[in-house]
Amino acid sequence: MFDVKKIREDYPMFANHPDLVYFDNGATTFKPKPVINAVMDFYNSGTSNVHRGDYPLSVHADQLYDGARVKIAKFINCDPKEVAFTAGTTASMNQIAYGMEHVFLKPGDVILTTRTEHASNLLPWYRLEKNCGIKVEYIPADSQGRVHIEDAENAMHDKVKAIVIACVNNVLGAVQPIKELAKLAHEHGAYIVVDGAQSVPHRKTDVKDLDIDFLAFSGHKMCGPGGTGVLYGKYELLERMDPISLGGGMNARFDSCGDVILKSAPEKYEAGTPNIEGVIGLGAAAEYLMSIGMDNIHEREKQLRGYFAEKVKQLDNIEFYNPDNETGPVAFNAKGVFAQDAAGYLASQGIAVRSGNHCAKILHEIIGTDQTIRASLYLYNTEEEVDRCVKAMSEITLESAIGIFF
């Protein structure tokens, strides 16, 4: 039984902001006590650097850090050595693009993606277009951001070396057929790179079952600390790829001739002192989510999103862009009101949402507007909060939006 009231007690933010309706979980999420405590414990009694410490505190830091790797591996069903810690999805994506450029790609090769992607999943590939003659091509997506496997099959050809796609789109919440796309990519000798920023926090992700080659996701969007993220890669691929950053902790030895022998993956992707407390907190977040159960979280969000969608459909003053997607944000505009003005009215009613293009700056080619309001839910949101948001949405007019300034 999913007890949302009990779950909310885990989050100090709710106690400190009793009147806030927080529907900006696509941007970042609140942190539960087990995560906060894991970070605080490290500061209060565990502080020490990792890597070859000769005293008990440092050995303990190593154990906590590597323990987090084991937890993340369990969370996405892979081997711990296939988990490299990064600063977030963006850092992971840049690493993947860099690594692929240097080892797997040659001029004329094609990266297949969609127009619905976030900047962090497009710009690194655009750079490859400029730097080394890689071409970016797009699989068509429908009006609610969904990619259909037939369209992907049609877009596929021999020059495609990777399909790069978000499992769940960050504006429309479209869920892409990752398993089918992975199969399609592999049949053509291509890789599949998945942006999991908006999916890993919300649904079970089994990289083995999906047969994903690379996966990127962020810690702070799944109850974890900011500045943490994960780069998952099949071990053989991580071993072949080059790291984007060089420095301490990732080399085995080097000499003054410049000959460097790198450590094996995943350490070779973690140059410099890592975000130790962040990673420990991220491990605690994965453990926390697993204790509730990713399938339970997914079911609960589906139910709440469905409840939200039914109410929004009844609002005459609201244009609702993704009514049929069963998960992810509710993307909308108030008719005749600029998105930021409407979001300002919602803010005046204690409702936190996000307006703008949400870093998906070519999505307008699909939905016909370059600005939307995104209300994104998480496991701790409630029907009462949805009711308050829907009521405030029904009140949005040009007049009420300007009224907040008086």
């Binding site: 003005d341 007049e399 907040i404 300034f405």
Partner: protein, 154 residues
């Protein structure tokens, strides 16, 4: 009721913003190359406007603007065009400076700003100050450019 009373009435001020948003004044760009122009694309939101001004003999003969922007950006820029057309550069600079004082929450002279006092509370919502100043920053830069050009000619 005097104009001064009207401009302290929140309902009137709200109506003014709505009116300037729905029917912005001087809201059409020209291809005339004698106009100075500034393209302002906000880095923090999607506001993207262009302001043009024709300045002859130190007097602002015309101002125009167009673009995609929220109510506050559009209405504040529309009011700016009304206020500054016909003014000399020093007069305009005084008004611009007064307006920036107001949106920063500092002391200002309401008489100079006329309808633009509608934005007097924007400073209370820090994320919207950029909206209320995007068009005003454009004209500020244009005025500076015009002065520099004028200095150069002398």
């Amino acid at each position: 009721m005097s104009v001064k009373d009207l401009l302290t009435n929140p309902d009137i001020l709200r109506e003014l913003i709505m009116d300037h948003y729905q029917y912005p004044h001087n809201h059409e760009l020209t291809k005339d190359t004698s106009y100075l122009r500034r393209h302002m694309a906000s880095e923090s939101c999607i506001d993207d406007i262009t302001v043009q001004a024709k300045i002859d003999d130190g007097i602002i003969r015309d101002i125009r603007f167009d673009g995609v922007a929220c109510t506050i950006s559009t209405a504040s820029t529309s009011m700016m065009t009304d206020l500054l057309i016909g003014k000399t550069i020093p007069e305009a600079q005084e008004i611009v400076s007064d307006y920036f004082h107001m949106v920063a929450g500092e002391d200002y002279d309401a008489d100079l700003l006329e309808e633009a006092v509608a934005f007097k509370n924007v400073y209370k919502q820090a994320n919207r100050i950029k909206c209320a100043t995007i068009g005003w920053n454009a004209i500020k830069e244009i005025l500076q450019e015009s002065e520099t050009q004028h200095d150069g000619q002398e």
